[in-house]
């Protein structure tokens, strides 16, 4: 076994670029490990964990790149290093060498007078500084960076408020401004429904369901995941709400978040009560009692929020339905699926790339199940003992830190989930596999394709054992997304997956099947 660690001084690349190179090199023949990272304290820990932290690497600075490989032989290790060099050279020359890349904000503003939005995704330690500079130059900010301390978030949002600017974030992955998707967002039709969302995937699901219903979105304002905490107090959501209330293109407003603390809910509802336009609220399983007497329209899941907004926009009444496909079709699916299980099969495994989608599913499923284990459990007693091993009925948020150490988010690189599908496929007690596929800019170019391969294999394994694997998927996307909703859906259906019109309906179908099994 050969280890080689090389330091490339003063050569900065962003983490997504480097992770992509690491993945390619690791896939080379005879390579057991490949880590290509900037020498930050966090990455040094990572290197140490895989036994590749040399003294030289330890002494390097965050501006230096560490290229570390472990291979079956010296020669193979050298090949891997050469591979990394090639990839970096390709990146350097292929990245638009005619393009001018300003090194300071001032020179960026000189090159682009009239710039109005800064999209910031630098590591968390440096985020506040960059966001502050941008705000001080009068730019609105979308702050994708996470690991920003809450005190800094508050300072930034207070500064933004003073200046009347947006500070979408930190930890804001989704926004659609003037019909343009930013970071992880979908291409959604233009329309008169405006969103303010503390959850990226929540915003994606709501906006794509609106699009699937034939309507459109005016703006999707992201607030960052922690905006509705007690400390931050919903500053950005309140600002977004007021802006959409004043925006002529917005007729209906939707607010999305995980359940905020009661005092923050009260603040938001107090603001909603001052607004003429209808405001639909989805605080994903939050306290419905607080809505009594408020003008705000309560919705219990993302799909309901979207469909209520659509009804309001069309001037129709909202009709609650479990399924938008005919009941007979649902009954047929349940009958057909349950007929083929072996006696061992009884459990459901949900593998999600979107945390909010996992939450939404769990809330729906929890009604039917005695227990639903997870790494983001609804109850403390439902916490998995070991995240690497599912217990009975289990739903996982594969985007959480425990699954993404040193790896890209599963929406960017599907292999984290594919690996877990392979693990679950060995379990003869699994009857149902439930998953989300999230399209849009920022996501992998073919998430359905990657998942479909692993579903095919998993189904084959179940059949070999004399059973049957039910696979239920929902695709969060639109026909105008780079990945194309129709094509992605077709790939999944081709391998026998049941594709439901929304995440909520996918969970409800799974719940019906579980009912039948028991």
């Amino acid at each position: 076994m050969a280890k080689k660690v090389v330091i490339d001084e003063n050569n900065y690349y962003d983490s997504v670029t480097l992770m992509s190179i690491s993945k390619d090199i690791k896939g080379m023949e005879g390579i057991t490990e490949a880590v290509v990272v900037m020498a930050t304290p966090h990455n040094k820990e990572l290197l140490e964990n895989v036994g590749l932290l040399t003294d030289e690497a330890d002494n390097a600075s965050p501006k230096d790149m560490v290229i570390a490989v472990e291979a079956d032989s010296d020669d193979l290790a050298e090949e891997a290093l050469a591979g990394v060099e090639e990839a970096l050279e390709a990146k350097a020359s292929g990245g638009g060498d005619d393009e001018y890349r300003p090194r300071t904000l001032d020179s960026a503003l000189d090159a682009m007078p009239g710039a109005n939005l800064a999209v910031i995704s630098v590591p968390g330690d440096y985020a506040k500084k960059e966001a502050e500079k941008a705000l001080n130059k009068g730019l609105h900010v979308m702050l994708f960076s996470d690991n920003v301390p809450v005190e800094e978030e508050i300072e930034l949002k207070e500064l933004a408020a003073e200046k009347g600017l947006l500070l979408m974030g930190p930890d804001c992955g989704t926004a659609v401004i003037n019909n343009k998707p930013l970071a992880f967002s979908n291409v959604v039709s233009e329309g008169n429904i405006g969103l303010v969302a503390a959850s990226g995937t929540g915003a994606q699901e709501v906006s794509t369901i609106i699009d699937k219903s034939g309507l459109g979105v005016s703006q999707v304002i992201g607030t960052g995941g922690r905006d509705l905490s007690t400390e931050v107090g919903g500053m950005e959501m309140l600002k977004g709400l007021k802006a959409l209330a004043a925006d002529d293109s917005t007729e209906v407003i939707v607010l999305v978040s995980k359940p905020p603390a009661d005092e923050v809910v009260k603040k938001i509802l107090a603001e909603v009560d001052k607004i003429e336009k209808p405001v639909v609220v989805n605080f994903l399983g939050g306290n419905e009692d607080l809505f009594e007497g408020s003008k705000a329209i309560y919705s219990s899941n993302l799909e309901e929020a979207a469909l209520r907004a659509v009804a309001l926009s069309e001037g129709n009444d909202y009709e609650a339905k479990d399924f938008t496909i005919p009941e007979e079709e649902v009954a047929k699916i349940v009958e057909e699926e349950t007929a083929k299980y072996s006696d061992d099969q009884k459990y459901l495994r949900g593998l999600y790339t979107g945390g909010t989608l996992c939450d939404e599913s769990m809330l729906i499923l929890a009604d039917e199940l005695d227990a639903l284990y997870s790494n983001i459990p609804l109850k403390p007693e439902w916490a998995l003992e070991d995240n690497a091993k599912s217990q009975e009925n289990t739903a996982l948020d594969l985007g959480e830190d425990e699954f993404t150490k040193g790896r890209p988010h599963p929406m960017i690189e599907p292999y984290t989930r594919v690996e877990r599908v392979e693990v679950e496929a060995e379990d003869e007690e699994m009857a149902i596999l439930l998953a989300d596929v999230v399209l849009g800019y920022g996501s992998h170019e073919d998430p359905a394709g990657e998942l479909a391969e692993s579903i095919k294999d998993a189904k084959a394994k179940a059949e070999e054992r004399g059973g049957h694997l039910t696979t239920i998927v929902s695709v969060c996307g639109t026909d105008n997304d780079p990945q194309d909703l129709a094509e992605q859906t077709a790939k999944l259906e081709e391998v026998g997956a049941i594709v439901m019109p929304s995440n909520a309906q996918a969970a409800r179908l799974a719940a019906k099947i579980v009912q039948e099994i028991n």
């Binding site: 630098v122 440096y126 960059e130």
Partner: protein, 58 residues
């Protein structure tokens, strides 16, 4: 209070991208005016030096 935000809603987006290149690439595909900054951790990643530099610049 909302004027600057409403102003943004009425204008063409002109984005300065600081960080992940993939975001700028996506924006270009969408036809958005975007400029990618050549960002690196300031002061060689030395936090103390960086804050010294800051106080000089202010």
């Amino acid at each position: 209070m909302e004027e600057k935000i409403l102003e943004l809603f009425g204008k063409k987006l002109k984005v300065i991208n600081i960080g992940l290149e993939s975001f700028a690439e996506s924006l270009k595909e969408e036809g958005v005016d975007v400029i990618q900054m050549d960002w690196e951790p300031p002061a060689g990643g030395d936090a103390e030096l960086a804050s010294l530099l800051d106080s000089l610049m202010d």
